[in-house]
Symmetry: C2
Subunit: 381 residues, 2 copies
């Protein structure tokens, strides 16, 4: 019966997202809510929303209430440093950036260098710091507003919020952590404490916080929702995405800990992208050219099509055309791959340029921008 | 058979200190070691050592080796803030201060405001900070060297050592914490993390650390000894004291969480001291004056005598005289109490004066003294 699995530490099988919504007790982002969102941001929705890649939420309706009443809200996302961000890591970042642009909100980006270090016994502190720097450049390249975005490393900001961290930690028991994170008595005490830090940015403002994240992360935020009101803050809201499938096929989730060929990394060059997609991208095409022309391909399982749908072909009309041409057998499997290769390489070329530029703006995001300066002058209790 | 109990969270019954040494696997501070110590500090030993109140140790011999070879060592003690320090809390402080004076070493005093806050759900952060300030004044009044002593609050110094804290935490599992501290799954995650912080000052210098503490605290330092060499530092050394008995009798340990009458607080005025001792101090005297004169008193269970032996009568000859006069029935129970009352009140009068003065030097100990300034300029990884 259990043909798929979604926990914060494992995603496998063909995910039934409707079932997830029921099990997690979240809400679907339905047509009405999408309409409200479109009205609020006075424009077109991001394709990841309109195409239901972000499909679930908690309290997005309350976020919109607050926005409409002028109270506003703020955004929070983060990253556990590790060498090599891949396409899948972009999803939450791209959505957060889009929301910031549309709603002119502050964004807090937590770089959990402590978590990374506690998690990987083989890594030195220096390894983690290098990965953190590397990741921050990739994140900045997504295009956040340097005056309204605060990127911080846990290890650097700890002095500004330690009393508040203790206040949260005092409310969370070992049992809760074991249940939510799958920890046990062999888990090191640092890792067991860390989830308290993850709630911190949700308390950075006395407004409602919105977290764009994968549905597999929902569990983490339940801890925040359990303690938030007792801390004198709002329960955080969230919008949840589905998973970008690995190149090899529609099941599971693209992962950097899995095979390197299953993911496209932001540092992959043009040739590598071409090679990986040509060699590994699962195709919905038929066994022979003749059959394909006759019966057509299946975009529902074709990774090249799916990636374009999720992230690389924002134009709805073009996408619809590709889909119908593929189903009609007009587009061949290799042509579909070629379309993805071009789009991914275009995307990565821009990313690389913005990443090179990020070295110049990193100071703003972390220390000198308007929001960053404000944050460094604050002490949270 | 178990007629006494010594854990970091409970001391009860008549403690068999020899048995403790065997069970804990520590060493007795024997005559030879005392001789070495006396030679090293070129003078008389502190009465708490010569009279075997500090009776056990780990690696004190190695500390003396290091000292003799000119490598030196440093001292570490601490305090979990709570309103009202009592006589029992002075023991480690007085010993640490004596050692600093004799060996001219640096002293680190950790004020564990995080632990206090995590421990007492009913206290606000402000409550803990007030208690911390209050305790720091009492500690300074003991007479430490303001240029060679760094008193810090965990919450303030966290930013200077967080990476090193993570390094320690990564080496400590939940099982260890449960076994050593008696924690369980209902314990909050902050408290479970805290023991890693307690090891931090032992890594402040690349020398051996010596911790004067009650034997009941030995357990805590076993964690440090387990991880120290893997961190690139020495296993900490320690000297262990017996317990100052409560006024009501020779068993157990003076405690601020117990009855207020069982302890003399550093803030108790002359009248209160007189009243408490007269009313509650368990006497080794006989039932009637006649019997007492004839059979003599028993100093071994007489709390007034015991307190003088531990802390309030440094003169060995005087103490010996008191003892023999008491055994001979020459000193009456009430006279014994009167002797203690005078000595405690003399002690507290000086303490009060030094405490009033401490408001002026607190800045030095925490931020501006030679050692404090050095510490604030350091970052530990």
């Amino acid at each position: 019966m259990e043909d798929f699995k979604v926990t914060p530490w494992e995603v496998s099988g063909k995910v039934d997202y409707d079932k997830l919504i029921r099990e997690f007790g979240t809400q679907r982002i339905d047509a009405m809510l999408k309409q409200r969102l479109a009205t609020a941001c006075s424009g077109k929705l991001h394709p990841m929303i309109s195409r239901n890649f972000f499909f679930s939420h908690r309290d997005l309706n309350l976020i919109l209430n607050d926005y409409e009443k002028g109270r506003g809200f703020f955004l929070y996302t983060g990253r556990k440093p590790s060498k090599g961000m891949h396409i899948g890591h972009l999803v939450s970042m791209v959505m957060t950036k889009w929301m910031q642009e549309k709603f002119k909100t502050n964004v807090y980006i937590e770089i959990t260098d402590d978590e990374g270090f506690l998690h990987r016994k083989e890594d030195s502190w220096k390894d983690i710091q290098e990965a953190a720097h590397d990741n921050i450049l990739d994140i900045i390249a997504v295009g956040f507003d340097p005056e309204k975005t605060f990127i911080f490393k846990d290890s650097e900001y700890i002095g500004n919020l330690y009393p508040m961290l203790l206040r949260a930690a005092r409310k969370i028991t070992g049992s809760t952590i074991k249940a939510v994170f799958g920890f046990n008595d062999s888990t090191n005490i640092g890792l067991s404490m860390y989830p308290a830090y993850q709630t911190m940015p949700t308390f950075f403002e006395k407004k409602r916080c919105l977290i764009p994240c994968g549905i597999d992360q929902d569990n983490y935020w339940r801890i925040q929702r359990d303690i938030a009101e007792g801390m004198g803050y709002y329960k955080t809201a969230a919008i949840h995405s589905a998973f970008i499938p690995p190149l090899q096929g529609i099941e599971g989730k693209m992962s950097s800990s899995g095979a390197k060929e299953a993911a496209i990394f932001l540092t992959d060059d043009e040739k590598t992208v071409k090679k990986k997609i040509n060699k590994y991208a699962f195709s919905g095409g038929r066994a022979t050219l003749e059959e394909h022309r006759k019966l057509g391909g299946n975009p529902d399982v074709d990774i090249s099509y799916q990636w374009m749908k999720i992230l690389f072909e924002p134009d709805d009309e073009k996408l619809a055309q590709i889909e119908s041409d593929y189903r009609a057998g007009k587009i061949l499997s290799g042509e579909m791959k070629q379309m993805l290769i071009e789009r991914v390489n275009d995307y990565l070329e821009i990313h690389r340029k913005q990443r090179a530029n990020a070295e110049k703006t990193i100071e703003k995001f972390m220390y000198k921008g308007k929001l960053a300066k404000e944050m460094w002058s604050k002490k949270y209790e």
